[in-house]
């Protein structure tokens, strides 16, 4: 799932670079050509792409955790198989994106260590809790839906390996989204208890989904290096608008109510009321809505969200538990097994 919209790449773009090479590089970008790892690129671009791909890879393997916890509780054989396959896909996306990052010059082990020691980040959205099966449905529908919207635009970027990885990931995400849509539809056409489970989970995930695309745009976002160099191709606010226009009417169709909510420190809703700003402007086709609580966003991103500590602790546990295995594989004398 994931996406890197809120990574906040700061690129000091023109420092100490050969102006002729720089001009050639920007001409390539402007001509819509793809850059490959061996091509010349400014140091700031290489660093920025590494940071973006690494953040995305981290997000995939952290993103596997909240849903992974529900594999053993999925309520039918079909859902159990689908959820295992879905989480497996996310791990696979992580693997592909770590490979892209490795080509940009950082070892996988270093990336995993930086992740578990908090030196690098992952997507904020995974710091929210998934306390019921309804949350799994909403994550697959809303968050994977948001990820597809974001990643489709990232597939229009300029860095070849990342672009190709996005295209492949997007194909798989389309399955996840369909599965999420089916889960939400099943809940919302189910018993009273199931519909309530769906609504409560929607209340927990609607705002994290809106925040998924990152904070409101900086002035002149289009002219800043991440967009000028096509690391990103659409601004956060534009992506958010596309998301609302697609998902607000879909939620209403499913019988879900869109609420403005207040949450406790554990990410559980303690107050909710209908979003009175929610309406469709017939002339523009855009939905207006109440903005997310951006203070909350920055609080969570700084490590103080409901699940930051839990997610990192589990990732660290997995890294430490597996260390002897990696050690044996990399330094052992096993060689290849004999042919069967």
């Amino acid at each position: 799932m994931s996406g890197s919209a809120n990574v906040g790449v700061h690129v000091d773009h023109a420092r100490d670079e050969d102006p002729a090479k720089m001009a050639e590089f920007e001409a390539k970008i402007n001509a819509g050509e793809l850059l490959e790892p061996d091509d010349w690129m400014p140091q700031a671009y290489r660093q920025g792409m590494l940071k973006m791909a690494e953040h995305h890879a981290n997000s995939e393997i952290i993103g596997a955790l909240p849903e992974g916890e529900w594999i053993t509780r999925a309520p039918s054989l079909r859902r159990k198989l689908a959820l295992t396959a879905k989480v497996q896909d996310e791990v696979g996306h992580g693997q592909m994106l770590y490979r892209v990052s490795q080509d940009l010059g950082k070892s996988r082990d270093q990336m995993l260590r930086d992740l578990i020691t908090g030196r690098t980040k992952y997507h904020n959205v995974f710091n929210y809790p998934a306390p019921t099966w309804g949350d799994i449905a909403m994550i697959q529908w809303l968050i994977d839906g948001a990820a597809i919207m974001n990643q489709k635009t990232l597939a229009d970027g300029a860095y070849g390996p990342y672009v190709r990885t996005m295209k492949r990931i997007n194909m798989e995400e389309a399955f996840h989204f369909k599965s999420g849509e089916d889960m939400v539809l099943t809940l919302m056409s189910g018993t009273k208890m199931q519909r309530q489970m769906g609504q409560e989970a929607f209340d927990r995930w609607w705002y994290p989904a809106l925040m998924f695309f990152g904070p409101p745009d900086k002035p002149h976002a289009e002219q800043l290096p991440p967009m000028r160099w096509r690391m990103k191709t659409v601004t956060n606010d534009n992506l958010r608008r596309r998301f609302i226009n697609r998902f607000a009417p879909a939620a209403i169709d499913l019988g879900l109510k869109i609420h403005v909510v207040k949450k406790d420190d554990n990410g559980m809703v303690i107050e909710r009321k209908p979003d009175e700003n929610l309406r469709l402007d017939e002339t523009t086709g855009n939905w207006s809505f109440t903005q997310p609580d951006w203070d909350e966003f920055y609080r969570v991103i700084r490590g103080n969200g409901p699940c930051n500590a839990k997610r990192l602790a589990l990732r660290r546990f997995s890294y430490e538990q597996g260390r002897w295995v990696r050690h044996a594989i990399l330094r052992g004398n096993a060689g290849l097994p004999p042919a069967a």
Partner: protein, 259 residues
């Protein structure tokens, strides 16, 4: 199914439940590693093994459901622990110890391959066809887990010691896989569960010992005592009820609802 005499229906359902329940529990335990395995590439592979086992269970439950008149999901999620027919080894938790997970898979995959090959010769054609297909996938599992035994057995001193410890611990309960179901001899006599071409326990022990030797590991296996009554008759370890409580947590909220 139509040709099966009435007195063999229950034993046959029990036999297939033993296969399916083993696979569901093993797949369930393995699926818990998805996202947490020691290496990303193996995370993906192990998750595929988990999906294979659970999908095999699903296919078998569908056949059993036809035989006794229920649904696959009701068999997986709607039974009390004493109605399950799985063996003690698949109930054992691994506590996220990779050596235990691999050794458990090692004992079970080799056993399953032999059991499915037997069922592939069953006089019941739907079961024979399914077993034949599943045995081909089990072959891949066996090759995968054997390579892990070798890599970790011959890896470092630490990995060998960890593997030896897990192997010893599980070797004590692995023969529980061979406990016969009630009236199994009648299924054998009717060729529904054809006699193994060679003694199944001996074949299994030889296969495992050879891989263990190749992996610098020691393995000592003893046939189960014929007096012991265990999982195949519904007498389970203390690990099964909590496993079922977790697995059925959501299903039990509304057992008759679609999820």
């Amino acid at each position: 199914m139509i040709t099966l005499p009435d007195n063999l229906k229950r034993p046959f359902a029990d036999l297939l439940l033993a296969v399916a329940d083993d696979k569901l529990m093993l797949g369930h335990r393995n699926s818990d590693w998805t996202g947490l395995a020691p290496i990303l590439e193996e995370d993906i592979a192990f998750s595929s093994l988990a999906q294979d086992e659970m999908a095999h269970a699903q296919a078998l439950y569908q056949l059993i459901a036809g035989l006794i008149g229920t649904s696959a999901d009701a068999l997986a999620f709607g039974r009390k622990s004493e109605a399950f027919r799985c063996a003690a080894i698949v109930e054992a938790p691994d506590e996220f110890d990779w050596a235990t997970a691999i050794c458990r898979q090692f004992f079970c995959d080799h056993f399953d391959r032999l059991r499915l090959r037997r069922l592939a010769r069953s006089s019941d054609k739907p079961v024979a066809d399914l077993a034949n297909r599943l045995a081909a996938e089990e072959q891949i599992h066996v090759e995968h887990v054997d390579s892990w035994m070798q890599r970790l057995g011959r890896g470092t001193d630490e990995s060998r010691q960890r593997m030896q410890k897990a192997l010893d611990r599980l070797a004590a309960i692995a023969p529980s896989l061979f406990e016969p179901i009630e009236h199994e001899h009648e299924l054998v006599a009717a060729d529904v569960y054809p006699r193994a071409e060679t003694d199944m326990f001996e074949t299994w022990r030889n296969e495992l010992e050879q891989i263990a030797n190749d992996s610098s590991l020691k393995l000592d296996l003893h046939p189960p005592s014929p007096q012991t009554i265990g999982g195949r008759r519904g007498k389970h370890t203390e690990h099964l009820p909590p496993l079922l409580d977790e697995m059925c947590e959501v299903y039990r909220l509304e057992p008759n609802a679609a999820w």
